[in-house]
Amino acid sequence: MIPLLVLLLAQNPVFRDIAPAAGLTRTIPNGGTVTKKYIIETTGSGVAWIDYDNDGLPDAFVVSGPESTSRMYHNEGQGKFRDATDQLGLDRKGWGQGVCAGDFDNDGFTDLFVTYWGQNSLLRNVGGKRFEDVTAKMGLTQDRTRYNTGCAFLDYDNDGHLDLFVANYLKFDFATTPPPGANPYCFYRGIAVNCGPRGLPFDRNLLYHAENGKFRDVSKESGIEAPSGNYALGVLTGDFNGDGLTDIFVACDQTPSILYINQGNGKFEDEALLRGAALDENGRAMSGMGAAAADYLHTGELSIFRTNFSDELETLYRNRGKGEFEDASVESGLGQNTRFVGWGCGFFDFDNDGWPDLLLVNGHAFPEVDRLNIDIKYHQRPILYRNDRGHFVDISETSGPGITTGHSSRGAAFADFDNDGSVEVLVGNQNEPPSLLKTTPGKNHWISLRLEGTRANRSAIGAKVRLTAGGISQYAEVRSGGSYLSQNDLRLHFGLGSATKIDKLEIEWPGGARQTETPATVDRRLTIVERRP
């Protein structure tokens, strides 16, 4: 019995926070640490991996609250980062919320979009040397102060130009928002806390279409602004019904989540309820925060995971096919963690066994919860689930100090930043420096794919990859945005288990063109450029 136990424990990863040693040391200010008077202090902020200078090493971007500029850390290699914020001209301060990446001008350098309470920033990457704020020039100036949250570039009409979706949380201003305790929606377990989201006015989401070298607000004509009773946060794009068109899932706080199904004529319809992706299995709206997607069962379909509030279960919507979902949270092993407020999340194959595992980062919305002396705390540890052939096993307590240490975390983004074959996690922590969670690579094999569109958008956002190796077929999509207000590395990472060759690798580019590749070796990074006909 004991040797078996030792063997089981030995299989678990040991994650450590290497952020201090790597040079990710600047605190991310985000509102109060003992009390938070306004809801705006609770929602920030996201993080991103973006290889802005195309040197093959993903750089780390950390969105900040108002007392600091958001930071860009250049990946110097050898596990070290250098703060390149000033050098790149990133000097804006404000209530930064989310971040998403994509090469919107198809010039070969990945651009950034940062959302704010207030005007957003479209940051054009100028040759990997600096970022230029082209928000106004590109037609993205907003008519009023908005509480912008999650965002994603997507090419919803497959014209080769990236469009942009921006979620809006609610209507907020400091002057008229009631103080803590002002009405029944300003209490948590009997203590006065910041008001909202309930009780604060809803706002509507935004869609910008790329046309004539600019973005045009098509929110109304596309149907994106139709849902009017949702507090929208995390944005997740994907072709959920397999019709070749990118759809948009939005995790919503205390209200039903939205699943905008792309109708193919420039219009979207929210079909979340009937498709089974709006509520939990009891027909109740959860407090959705972040979202991630993966083919975690190897069925060739993207299922959706959503983080929720404490006293709620996390939600796993299993895709039954054609974008019809069912709540599989409990039966998949996600039925026991109810004291965490989840935010950033992602599927990533930490042990490269070919089965996407799942990590979510947590932290309560209200620092005041610590006064209650209950088992729900403000600082909360992440949760790590191992995907055991489609069933998730919670291995958090035995996966090293990186997982057992608590923070008030929000954004989380995934990348193999040092190209060693294991995926690391960048985590944004409120009023602390970020965490960088790393584990030691195991013996399993892997491959990392960077896709480059030619007819499709250059970032290949929306491209689908089907890979078969070692008897397992995996499916993934290149995606902008996701997690909680965050951006993962645009490269796709596949664990291959013990397989030393890939039997089949097929890419379906946005627009439907298919391309088959036969990589000669594994354990390496591979760039695949879309073939011209």
Binding site: K171, T176, N183, P184, G190, R198, G199, L200, P201, F202, L273, L274, G276, L279, E281, N282, G283, R284, S310, D311, R320, E324, E326, V330, E331, G333, G335, Q336, N337, T338, R339, D375, I376, H391, D394
Partner: protein, 299 residues
């Protein structure tokens, strides 16, 4: 009825209700009890209402709960939305409750019922650790008492978010079932915990049993319907869910699952109908606070 009594009633009926109420307020409750009782049937309902309130308060103040109760009940029946009547009713129940507790502590301090009651009070106050201690004391004193294990299990689930709490609670629900094998709710709770623990097959057996024990238990019907759906027996699932909706027409969970079951069976029109029903149920109720929020939203 003797002639003297009839005479007395006639005299009392002529007495001004206002005077009686004033005397009651001045503490002359004993003297005005009988005339106030007569005023309850006064044709002037406002006078009857005031007399009833005064009479009830007099009897509650004197701890005559046995005679105060019928007056309060009559007043609630005749003036169901009257805030003064409801206030006096609340006052009566609170004082009667306190009085009963006091007597129980005085006369049967060693009874398991004392511990049970303490546990229930702690539970209401959110003092869950204390409630658990008291429930355990009650169980130790009377291991065969029904409902104690069930309530303890419920508090264990509320008290801790640790997965270990699930197992502790499951054991208590099982103990409840040992005492009362026909408790469908306890059976259902065991099933839910087993499901959360990943023991799907074991959970299924308990869900089936809960539905057998009580054919009108919507949650159990829904759980069994899910099992049928998993087995792709969609028409069986739909029958169960239609029954759940019939039993509890405003149940969100029943309508939601029926909508999905219709969808899974390819009955799109029925699914849309259920969706509309669910939309209707989930619409926030109209009321003062909703109006306030709407106004806030219009700012």
């Amino acid at each position: 009825m003797p002639a003297t009594s009839l005479f007395l009633i006639a005299i009392l009926a002529q007495t001004d209700a206002g005077t009686l109420i004033s005397r009651a307020a001045a503490g002359e409750c004993d003297a005005v009890d009988a005339p106030l009782q007569l005023q309850l049937s006064n044709r002037d309902r406002q006078s009857a209402r005031l007399a009833g309130l005064a009479l009830a308060q007099c009897r509650i103040g004197a701890k005559h709960f046995d005679t105060a109760g019928p007056v309060v009940a009559q007043m609630e029946k005749e003036f169901p939305a009257d805030p003064d009547v409801l206030y006096v009713a609340a006052n009566y129940h609170q004082k009667a409750w306190n009085d009963a507790i006091y007597r129980m502590y005085q006369k049967a301090p060693a009874s398991y019922r004392v511990d049970q009651l303490s546990a229930e009070v702690f539970e209401t106050q959110g003092k869950l650790d204390e409630a658990i201690v008291e429930y355990r004391k009650a169980i130790a004193k009377n291991p065969k008492a029904i409902n104690l294990h069930y309530r303890l299990a419920r508090v264990l689930l509320q008290q801790s978010h640790e997965p270990a709490a699930l197992e502790a609670a499951r054991k208590e629900f099982v103990a409840e079932l040992d005492l009362n094998p026909s408790d469908a709710v306890a059976e259902y709770q065991v099933a839910q915990i087993l499901l959360a623990q990943g023991k799907k097959a074991d959970a299924a057996a308990h869900h089936e049993k809960a539905a057998q024990l009580r054919a009108d238990f919507p949650e159990a019907l829904i759980a069994v319907a899910k099992l049928r759906s998993d087995a792709k027996r969609y028409s069986d699932a739909i029958s169960l869910l239609e029954r759940a909706v019939q039993v509890q027409p405003r149940s969100e969970i029943a309508h939601y699952n029926l909508m999905l079951a219709y969808r899974n069976a390819g009955r799109a029109a029925d699914a849309q109908r259920e969706k509309a029903e669910l939309d209707k149920i989930q619409k926030p109720p109209d009321g003062e606070f909703t109006d306030f929020l709407k106004r806030l939203g219009n700012k």
